[in-house]
């Protein structure tokens, strides 16, 4: 069982959601985060004082899936999200030791 953390630009969420759906993902969590990376931020101005905003709004999509789905997801997310400009985002992969469905108590793969 793996957890994927997919960091994307906010406007790409709908497309990523449908990719995940196609790859057979059964659940996900979405968090608003502020990201910092190769993409540069921008300058803001308030009453004549400039300030750098080096954090940009990103969306973090987390989903726990069986290991065999990872390839499908990585492949297809790249397909719809990659624009070729810095800031497209990252996918991080983690091991998951267990999952429990609170409603039924099922655990492991059948809890997904």
């Amino acid at each position: 069982m793996k957890k994927l953390e997919i960091i994307i630009r906010p406007e790409k969420l709908e497309e990523v959601k449908s990719i995940l759906h196609q790859c057979g993902v059964t659940g996900l969590m979405i968090t608003n985060v502020m990201g910092y990376g190769n993409q540069r931020g921008f300058t803001q101005m308030y009453r004549g004082t400039e300030f750098e905003v080096n954090l940009l709004p990103k969306i973090k999509v987390e989903t726990v899936v069986s290991a065999d789905k990872v390839a499908c997801i990585v492949e297809n997310v790249r397909g719809v999200v990659a624009s070729g400009t810095p800031g497209d985002g990252k996918i991080f992969v983690y091991a998951v030791e267990d999952a429990i469905r609170i409603r039924t108590g099922e655990s492991g793969g059948s809890a997904l």
Binding site: E11, M34, F42, T43, Q44, M45, V53, L55, L56, P57
Partner: protein
């Protein structure tokens, strides 16, 4: 100075201050009904159209509207110092009182456009359009109807400006929204999407502000303290109520639940529709006008949104254009002013025949032609030259950051 003149001055001052405050109402409605990332930009457009409008209307627009008539088409004297004109209404009030009242009226027409083109229009072309509507487009119509021009001569009735103010703003809004195109994400592969506003509470505050100020708009248009103020307030209020209630019922039936933002638009629709006839229709007539406005706003906004596919984020076209025109026409049906006297104005339903309705239709159509034509020309030139629209990336990130390097809600957003 005569006491009666001073009393008129006081009343028109009160009315003017109320009409001025409509700027706040429009600003809140337009901001509340659009997205947070464009809030500062909408605010700025609202402040600037009033600011620029006030200056150019004083210097030029007022004279085009009320200067000595050139063929009934526009005024041709008084430029730069309109207070030196010899208008009879200047003697009834004082020159600056009347100019002040007309200034805040003019600004109302200009500000209607900003909501319809919100969330994707560049700042500079908006400012230019706004200057021209206050300086030329509105004053010419104003001359026709209120400045002694050709429509006023043939008995066209538009007491407080369903046509002069609202339809001018509304037609320009329609042309602008159509030419600047829909927001990204509004129409995707034939599907119509909703892009909900970010603060319905503020939008509602804006509606309440406008409602209050409309009593100054309509009852102030008497230009003096008269025995008609109460009647105008009653027709104004009950038309708004009937329209809001009708809107709520229709949305409840059509959508399964009463729709909040549509009902708020319904209030404004009723107010716009009664504006032309508030003085000349009966209280019951006002209720009927309100009901009609309620139907118009729901089906009108849906039609514009889903059939014509013009993206109007705040419903400005439905509110001001459709109801401005309809309100003007309904005067031809419902007018029943001083029946039996010399000053009688009577619509079709009160035995006045078709003539008034015909004049009303002619006026509404002429104003539509002029406003659509000039707006189309102006937006067209702006599109060809500086361009009307921000880039896709700028629109996505928001006009606040793009146009003003700022954000409206710093603590709730980017840290």
């Amino acid at each position: 100075m005569e006491l009666s003149q001073l009393l008129n001055i006081v009343w028109v001052m009160v009315g003017s201050v109320l009409v001025f405050f409509m700027q706040a109402g429009f600003a809140m409605v337009e901001t509340g009904f659009t997205r947070a990332k464009n809030a500062s930009n909408i605010i700025m457009k609202n402040v600037m159209d009033f600011t620029i409008g006030s200056i150019v209307f004083y210097l030029i627009g007022f004279s085009l509207m009320f200067g000595d008539s050139v063929g009934g088409i526009f005024g041709g004297s008084g430029f730069l110092s309109p207070e030196k004109l010899g208008l009879s209404v200047f003697a009834d009030l004082t020159p600056p009182v009347f100019i002040f009242f007309q200034t805040v009226f003019c600004a109302t027409a200009a500000t209607i456009v900003s909501g319809a083109v919100a969330e994707r229009t560049k700042f500079l072309p908006y400012l230019i359009f706004s200057a021209v509507i206050s300086m030329v487009i509105y004053p010419v119509v104003g001359h026709w109807i209120w400045g002694g021009g050709w429509l006023s001569k043939i008995g066209f009735v538009d007491f407080a400006g369903s046509t002069v103010v609202h339809s001018v703003g509304g037609w320009a809004a329609l042309v602008g929204a159509a030419m600047v195109g829909p927001r990204i994400g509004k129409y995707v592969k034939g599907k119509v999407n909703a892009l909900p506003g970010h603060n319905i509470t503020l939008g509602a505050l804006g509606v309440f502000i406008l409602w209050m100020c409309w009593f100054g708009f309509n009852a102030g248009s008497t230009l003096g303290a008269t025995d008609e103020l109460g009647h105008i307030a009653m027709t104004t209020n009950l038309a708004a109520c009937a329209a809001a209630f009708t809107t709520m019922l229709i949305t409840w039936i059509r959508y399964g639940k009463p729709d909040v933002s549509m009902t708020l638009n319904g209030v404004l629709a009723g107010l716009v529709a009664i504006t032309a006839g508030c003085q000349v229709v009966t209280i019951k007539g006002a209720l009927v006008i309100g009901v009609v406005a309620g139907f118009l706003i729901v089906f009108g906004i849906e039609f514009i949104d889903k059939v014509v596919k013009v993206d109007d984020p705040v419903g400005a076209v439905g509110v001001h254009c459709l109801n401005g025109v309809a309100g003007t026409l309904m005067v031809g049906l419902f007018a029943n002013y001083m029946p039996g006297t010399e000053s009688a104005i009577t619509g079709l339903l009160y035995g006045g025949g078709l003539s008034l309705l015909g004049v009303q239709a002619l006026g509404a159509a002429s104003v539509a032609a002029w406003t659509i034509g000039t707006s189309f020309l102006l937006f067209g030139i702006l599109k060809k030259t500086i361009g009307l629209r921000v880039t896709e990336q700028e629109e996505t990130i928001g006009l606040d950051i793009h146009e003003h390097n700022t954000q409206a809600y710093a603590d709730f957003m980017v840290k």
